[in-house]
């Protein structure tokens, strides 16, 4: 009972912390006290927080290593862009259109997440990891083949597998507009994403995921992570729970992708490659597996780090790499852990179970 209360307290602290951070940043932004650099990073940070928190559901809570999370972001981003661009006439209000785009992005990613999840979750460990990586690459390649345009007859979609078709093969009307030009990606996207929208998306993600984790379902998912056989023997449907975590996470990533896609004038599928999946994984691991609060902070810090290191010019990414290695060593070194363990004995046990 006491434990329960504590977790509820942590959850509310998380909501309150995020809200406070948002209000402060928003006030500063509106007052013009933020540098353009920071102000421009607010929306992508929100997107990557959602990415990290949702990946944490799979990696931390459900215990499966996924190396293809960016694939879902990609599906959501392009889905969202198609929706927003083609509905520009039908829904003149930008915030409303953004909401529709986010929902469409999330739905697209949900479908793909389900299609990917069913086969993937039959596998375990590193084999599962490599298959998620493979799906991430396949999604990227498929989106590279996508040609989408819009005119008064509706959407025109051509799937350019041979690589020989171009945007002219869509046969758009004069007034028609190309939305996705295959590997050249989406161009001329109207920027409608905003920081408040990012904040709302982060809050929705937090509410969904924290409530899921504290629910009966969440306990089942964690039970499967900790001991699959024991969980199976008490009658838990392993596939169902794992799939649930996977699909919810994909849906969140899709919404994050849609927001991300609508924050820039152009977007190419190769942005969501293996390296982006890995980047989000770094946020999750550095923030602590299963630790939602940690994911948020790690994302903010690590996202801003390369920007803050700009004054190192040529050495920027080198310094970033060194900081990354050092932080991993300091936070995971056995001696340091043991030292902390001596100070607080019961925490050591918990750490040992990870």
């Amino acid at each position: 009972m006491k434990n329960m209360k504590k977790s509820t307290k942590t959850d509310f602290a998380t909501y309150a912390g995020v809200t406070a951070a948002f209000l402060i940043m928003y006030a500063l932004q509106r007052g013009g006290h933020l540098t353009s650099s920071i102000s421009g990073q607010l929306v992508p940070i929100c997107c990557f927080i959602v990415m990290a928190v949702s990946l944490n559901l799979v990696v931390g809570i459900s215990g499966e290593l996924s190396l293809g999370h960016a694939g879902f972001m990609s599906v959501g981003a392009f889905g969202g862009i198609i929706a927003a661009q083609s509905l520009a006439g039908a829904i003149p209000s930008a915030p409303l259109r953004l909401i529709v785009a986010l929902v469409v992005g999330a739905l697209c990613a949900t479908v793909v997440g389900f299609v990917v999840g069913v086969p993937v979750l039959r596998l375990r460990g590193d084999y599962l990891a490599i298959v998620t990586l493979a799906f991430g690459q396949i999604i990227k390649d498929l989106i590279n083949c996508l040609l989408v345009g819009y005119d008064s007859h509706g959407l025109h979609i051509v799937f350019n597998i041979s690589g020989l078709k171009s945007i002219n093969d869509l046969h758009l009307e004069e007034t028609g507009k190309a939305i996705i030009k295959g590997a050249q990606g989406a161009v001329g996207v109207t920027k409608i994403a905003s920081f408040p929208a990012g904040f709302i998306l982060v809050m929705i993600t937090l509410v969904v995921i924290l409530n899921l984790v504290r629910s009966r379902t969440g306990r089942a998912i964690m039970a499967i992570r900790d001991n699959r056989i024991a969980a199976e023997s008490v009658g838990l449907n392993i596939t169902k729970y794992k799939l649930m975590a996977f699909v919810i996470s994909a849906a969140m990533a899709g919404a994050a992708g849609a927001l991300y896609g609508l924050n820039y004038g152009s977007l190419v599928a190769s942005r969501f490659d293996f390296n982006t999946s890995i980047l989000v994984l770094v946020y999750v691991v550095l923030g602590g597996l299963g630790n939602i609060w940690g994911s948020i902070i790690a994302t903010v810090v690590l996202y801003m780090l390369p920007e803050a290191l700009r004054q190192f010019s040529d050495y920027r990414m080198l310094v970033y790499a060194i900081i990354l290695i050092l932080v991993m060593l300091v936070t995971n070194n056995a001696q340091l852990k043991a030292l902390l363990g001596k100070l607080i004995p019961h925490k050591k046990e918990a750490a040992g179970n990870e």
């Binding site: 945007i167 002219n168 030009k181 161009v187 609060w293 902070i297 920007e307 803050a308």
Partner: protein, 385 residues
Amino acid sequence: MKNTKKIISFIVVMTMILALCSVSAFAAEGETFKIGGIGPLTGGAAIYGNAAMNGAQIAVDEINALGGVQFEFNAQDDTGVAETSVNAYNSLKDWGVQAIVGTVTTAPCISVSAEAYSDRIFMLTPSASSTDVIADKDNMYQVCFTDPNQGIASADYMAENYPDAQIAIIYKNDDAYSQGIRDTFASEAESKGLTVVYEGTFTEDTQTDFSVQVAAAQAAGADMVFLPIYYTPASVILTQANAIGYEPTFFGVDGMDGILSVEGFDASLAEGVMLLTPFSADAEDERTQNFVAAYNDLYGETPNQFAADGYDAMYILYAALQEAGCTPDMSAQDICEALVGVMPTISVDGLTGQGMTWSATGEVSKAPMAVVIKDGVYVLPEAAE
């Protein structure tokens, strides 16, 4: 409590970052124009970004040495990603940028130019060649050709000189530049009655091995291989075609320039390669030779076309600023409006073209030059025969 410790250390790092950010936010008003540069200085596309920014830096040094208008140049890394590019742009804004030379690659340029359009900051890209870069933006200008321009010019040249060629195309279909040229080339070739017998593609992930594409082009009987790609993969294609004894005429576009300076590349393989290029590091004129010598001194390499584009971009900006009568104390917005006014009226001689002029849409007008590689240097096609 392990987590508490983690969180505390993060907060410490965070504070440090914010402290750093505020330091870099100091933008002193000065006697000099603050010119920003954006391009990929690290990552897979770093060769292009570094070349363009290095070329621009040489131009800045020369302009400053003239003693008149002074430039301060700040090149920022965007790793070739749109998002990072916008971040780089924002940090340049904090620095107090007055005009931008960039971005080097196409997709980031589209995103950044959308921002610059709403902020009214003048942009001149050395090398982002897609028409989407300049579409609907009055303050966005290009130094390089647009992709359709090159595709059409290549097809026209072939139709005129090699009407019976059996053409194979190998292009990079996740690259806007390559895909763009291929698309216009293919439609122009069709209308000119050229025969395309094979088309092979590759992507960023598969650009090290072309043995299959080369063998397929050979099997299809192609005697002319059109390569609308950059010189690095092109050098591999030439090497691998040579390895299986396949000797068609290779035809490249401006991205092919630089192939002779690839370190370690056997230049004899490039013998007979034709390309349309606005710049040649072997050109005889004094200005090109000085530039090549300066570049070699500073960076230890022979400059490619990106370096020349970067160099030209800076001089174009210089000419336009003088023409418009801008002074360093003007705001970026005023400078932007003044430059937008004069750009369609000026004519600039550069390394990549004599008498370059611009349309109000931002597109450059200069003549591509067809050259053939003979004995390791570019010569005009007539001279090669």
